[in-house]
Each structure stands twice: as C-alpha cells, then as structure tokens.
C-alpha cells in the first residue's frame, strides 16, 4: 500500500471514529465523577434527531450541533434526577434513558426521515486541502473531526492540569474525602452527568448532521453502547480516548478495505473486527499493567449494587 492508501484508511477511520470518540469523552467525564450512564446510546439518538431537525429548519449545521448537544444534555438530566435525586440504581436508570431516547427520537424524528440538509462545507477546497502531501487527507476530514480532536485536548488538560480537574477526579475516587474538603460531590456529579449528556448529544449530532447527513431511527446502531465499553479500554483517560477510538475506526476501515480488495474472508467475520480488536487491546493492556485497573473507586460501589 502506498502513502495515499494509508492516508485514505486513516481518514475513513477518523471520520468513522469521531462520533464514538465524542461519546467516549462524554461518558469518561461522567464516570470520572463516580456515575455510570448506560443511556449514552439514547442520548446520542436524541442528539442526532434534534441536531438534524434544527439543521433542517435553520440551515445552520453549527446551530444543529449545538441543539443536538443540548438535547443530549436534557435527556441526561433525567438520569441525574433519577439516580442522584431519587436514588434509583444507576444501571436501571441508564437503561431507562437508553430506551427513552430510542423511543422519543424514533417518534418525534419520524417526519425528519428522508429530509435533506446541506451540512458543513467541505474543507477539501480551502487552504487545508491545498497543503502539499497531506492536503488531500486533511481536506477529507470534516469540521466535527477537528472539533473532536480539540475536545480531546481540552478534556485532557482540564482533568490533569487544572484545579477543577483534580476535584472532578476526586469525586470519582472518594466522595468522602471531597466532603471533608468542604466540596459537594452531588453538585459535581450533576455536572458530570450533564457534561456527559452534552458530549454524547454532540456525538449523535455529528453522526446525523455531518457524517451521514441523514436521520433515520436507531441510526447509531449500537455505537453508544460501544463507546461505554471503550471507556474501559481507554482506562478513563481522555489522552487514551483518541488512540482507542482510532483502533475502533481503523478496524472498521480495514474490514471495509479488505472487502473492497476482494479478500476471501466472510464479510461477517470481518464485521466483528471493530469489536474484537478493542477487546484484545483491553486484555493485553490489562495483562501488561501491574497497577491493576484505573477505574474510579466510587464506580466499584455501582457494580456492587450499593449506589
């Protein structure tokens, strides 16, 4: 394969990985405060539908992305209300959010199916696309890919380089310690859930407004659930979110590339690559790590059924 082919593969991987990467960042921020939200898929769907609707009505994809993100946040507030306000089990509440988002988006999104939007301008003809060697590759990427990369940077800096980031992480490690410092873990957890909702709504809108320029019910096709799993592979670390999302995207791109090259492998087997490869990475990285898991300690309670 020549350099153009590698760039081609990488651009497919990045485009495909972007919605998953955004959802991963969101769920990571939520889980770092000690809350699990399994409703990511539902929040993505609501974000995708709302984002598409607003882009369709206003003609502005940026406005669509914003409203999509807010719609995801609105749905996540139900999770906050249920598990922080009413003490509902987080797993059950998350699943309820998943089904709720699925139903709401399919119901209110029905009139949007088959509608046409214009989406973002292609970057292929701007200055980016005219750079030597890398121009065609960079021009192939879209606005949301660059947005996601910037957000990786911001999340990493926030969590590891700011005072608030330290407090945020402490919420997930020991709520008691935080209380002793005079901070309110509940407020931080609300912030964690809502920020997660914002990011996952944005992820859904990126899928409908930018990547596919289409809305259809259940269009996330399990990528929200996948993102929850990939958070574990990335060890709750935003810096690792990018490579992990890329591993997923590259497996997806490679499966398609092998097919289009006429490889004599069942397409169904190839279709398992995007799930198989991260799983292998997870196993290898856990074996290689001497420090055990990097799971936020407050999450342990969730899986023991205490929270």
């Amino acid at each position: 394969m020549n350099i153009a082919a590698w760039f081609g593969l990488l651009s497919i991987a990045l485009l495909m990985a972007t919605p998953v990467l955004l959802a991963m960042l969101g769920e990571m921020l939520t889980q770092r405060t000690g809350i699990v939200n399994l409703g990511v898929e539902g929040q993505m769907l609501v974000g995708a539908a709302a984002g598409f609707a607003v882009t369709y009505a206003s003609g502005s994809p940026w406005l669509g992305m914003l409203v999509g993100a807010l719609a995801g946040m609105a749905l996540s507030s139900v999770h906050a209300l249920l598990c922080l306000g009413l003490g509902v089990n987080q797993i059950a509440s998350g699943l309820a959010i998943f089904f709720l988002g699925n139903g709401l988006s399919a119901f209110y999104g029905a009139p949007l199916v088959g509608q046409q939007i214009s989406g973002f301008h292609s970057l292929a003809h701007g200055w980016l696309g005219h750079l030597p060697i890398v121009g065609s590759f960079l021009g192939q990427l879209t606005s949301t890919v660059y947005l996601a990369l910037i957000l990786v940077l911001l999340c990493g800096l926030f969590l590891y380089r700011t005072q608030w980031g330290l407090v945020w992480r402490a919420t997930g490690e020991s709520a008691d310690a935080l209380r002793m410092l005079g901070k309110k873990p509940v407020a931080l957890r609300i912030a964690g859930i809502l920020t997660g909702g914002l990011f996952t709504g944005l992820a859904g809108a990126a899928l409908s407004v930018d990547y596919t320029r289409t809305w259809v019910e259940q269009m996330t096709a399990g990528r929200g659930l996948l993102a929850v799993g990939l958070v574990i592979v990335a060890r709750w670390n935003p810096w690792l979110a990018l490579p992990v999302a890329l591993i997923y995207g590259l497996s997806e791109a490679l499966a398609l590339r092998l097919q289009s090259m006429g490889a004599d492998i069942s397409p169904y087997l190839l279709g398992t690559l995007p799930y198989l490869v991260p799983l292998v990475v997870l196993l290898l990285s856990y074996r290689a790590s001497q420090r055990g898991t990097s799971m936020p300690q407050e999450l342990v309670g969730v899986f023991r059924g205490m929270a």
Partner: protein, 356 residues
C-alpha cells in the same frame, strides 16, 4: 420506581408503532413498515404503493404502522389492525414472513400479502419485483459513466435478491464496457447509515467512481457519493433530488398496480394465493429519470435495451455467463435456469467480492 420507569420507556418505544388510526370502511387495508415511510428507499416505495391503492380503488381505506421491528411486535401490530377491521394486511418487510404465516393460520378470513417472501399459505400471497432487469439497464449507464472502469456496490447482506442486482449491474456495465468491474462491500445491516458512508469512502479510495447500493435507504450512499464527487445509481425510489449532478439513474419499485389488483380481487372474491413476480414489462420495476450527466446516446441505447427486455428479446441471464473464477455458468445460446436465478449464490466475472 424502576419498573414503572422501564414500563414508561417501553410504552414510549411502542408509541412509534401506534401512530396510525385504522378506520372502518368498505374495505380496510393495513400496511406494516419496518422503517419510516419517507426513507427515500424500501419503505417509501411500499408507501407509494399504499397511496396508489388509496387513489385507485374506490371506497378503500388504508392505514399503516411505521418502524415496526421484525420481532413479536409485528404480530401485535397486525393483530391491532385486524382488530380494527382490516381485511388485507401488507406485511412489507422480509423478516415479517414467519409472523405473518402464524397469523394467517389464526385469521383465515384475512388476506395477507408479503413482499419478497419465499413461502405462502392459502390466505397469504407474495409479491416481488425482478429489479435485476432495471439494474442491468442502470449498469449500462454506470458502464458508460465510469472513467476508471471501477464501479462500487454497497450491499447489506449476500442474499439472492442482492446478488442478482450486483450481477445484473455488472453484466449491464460489461455490455458497453467489457473491462468494467464491480467491487462489493457489505455493511451487514439494512439500516446503518454510518457504515454506508464508510463503505462509499472505502470504495472511492480504491478508485471507484460510480456507486450503487442495495440497503433500505440509499440516501446515505447518495450523500457520501456527493461529498466525494462520484456518480451514483439509486435503488428502491427516485432520490435524484439528493444529488442531481451525480445521479445517473435508479432502479425503482412500483408496487401500486400490483397492490391495487390484489385489493380489487379480494373485494370481488376472486383472489387466490400466488407468488406475483413483477418485472420491467409489467412496470413493477422501472428506471428512474436520468441525471443530466447521462449522454443522449446512452439514453437512447438504454431505452432500446429496455424495449428488448420487455419484448423478451434480451434476457439478463442469457449466456455466455462466466462465474468469478471463469467457470461457465451458461454457454452461449443458453440461459441460467429459473432455480439458479432464484437461489443465486455466485458472482459473475468482473465482480470483486465475497458471496458468503
């Protein structure tokens, strides 16, 4: 609390399937769709058939349910329709077949029609379109349009109707461009827009400059083709408006007349269960209008070939047909047997891809 919430969520999930109000009239006809009726694809083509029936058959009332998944929910949906007085049920999605067969036993006085099904009952008939005839014609347009000689095909699953379309497209393209190849990528799903887009991108990176598809809604494929500036062949429905510049033509299903005949026959008491196979001649499959980039000479050629197919002078599966590996499937002067066509499990020469 938990269970109440889950019940609420489930109810909202179901709400998607309860949006229509069946009404009583002379004869009421119910339609069940697996997706949205405006998907620019499979379901919109079915719904266009419903609208035709509504117009064409006096006194008929139609109702529909959208987004009904291929599981026990479809049984529930159809029973609701029957309970509300529907005498004919169009179960339009392939995965509804086993549920429709069960209900056909339970409600012998209701007529069921299933699309593309391979099983029937006394009160359950099937209807299908030999879309490969139109796909062959679209292949001519694709073969003329491609500069690289590489055509792409985004397919959901390797099943006979899909393989028929891929092979027909390749044969049509090769009839005007002997070196043309068709590269196939499977998405593994009828409805995964993100995978459709990635597939188109993967194909374009391999040098493909014309792409066709067989998934429920071709819109994501058309949008991706537009972004990459390549030509596109539509499927199920006329979606030219999504990319007039890149649009070559499309293979369209025209169910209206077939459905109207069934309704009229049931009303008259003359309906008998059969497997209806529509084709170009019956008008059940058609070619969508040409895009502006299709040259006049190509249009004339396609019209001429269309006439030949309708008159029975040109048969898509007439030999010589060679398989991918060069095995002769039908020699010159012979044709593939109807069985071999119906259970198609091979690719013709020039198709790059896997059939399993």
């Amino acid at each position: 609390m938990k269970s109440r919430l889950l019940a609420l969520a489930a109810a909202l999930g179901l709400a998607t399937t309860l949006s229509a109000q069946p009404a009583l009239a002379d004869i009421a006809v119910g339609y069940v769709y697996v997706g949205a009726k405006t998907d620019g694809g499979y379901n919109e083509a079915q719904n266009a058939g419903r609208l035709y029936v509504q117009k064409d058959v006096p006194g008929v009332k139609t109702n529909f349910l959208e987004n009904v998944p291929e599981n026990a929910q479809v049984t529930q949906a159809m029973e609701r329709m029957i309970g509300a007085g529907d005498k004919i049920i169009f179960a339009t999605s392939y995965g509804y077949l086993s549920y429709a067969l069960e209900l056909a036993k339970k409600y012998p006085k209701v007529t069921f029609m299933h699309c593309y099904g391979d099983k029937r009952a006394a009160n359950l008939g099937t209807y299908s379109a030999e879309t490969y005839e139109a796909m062959y014609l679209a292949g001519i347009a694709a073969g003329k349009a491609t500069k690289t000689g590489k055509i792409g095909f985004v397919a959901a699953h390797p099943i006979p109707p899909v393989l028929q379309n891929i092979n027909a497209l390749a044969l049509g393209a090769q009839s005007v461009n002997p070196k043309a190849t068709v590269t196939v990528v499977y998405t593994g799903s009828w409805n995964d827009p993100a995978k459709d887009v990635a597939s188109v991108n993967a194909l374009v990176d391999q040098g493909v400059d014309v792409v066709a598809s067989h998934v429920d809604s071709p819109i994501p494929v058309i949008e991706a083709a537009k972004k990459r500036g390549i030509k596109v062949v539509g499927y199920h429905f006329n979606d030219m408006k999504f990319d007039p510049q890149g649009w070559l033509t499309g293979v369209v299903e025209n169910w209206g007349p077939v459905m109207a005949d069934v309704v009229k026959q049931v009303e008259a008491g003359t309906w008998k269960s059969e497997a209806i196979h529509g084709n170009l001649k019956s008008g059940t499959t058609q070619l969508a209008p040409f895009g502006p980039s299709v040259e006049a000479a190509t249009r004339t050629l396609i019209e001429a070939k269309k006439k030949e197919i309708e008159d029975g002078k040109l048969h898509v599966w007439a030999g010589p047909i060679e398989a991918q590996d060069g095995t002769v499937l039908a020699a010159k002067g012979q044709s593939l047997s109807p069985d071999k066509i119906a259970s198609m499990d091979f690719f013709v020469k020039g198709v790059i891809g896997n059939t399993k």
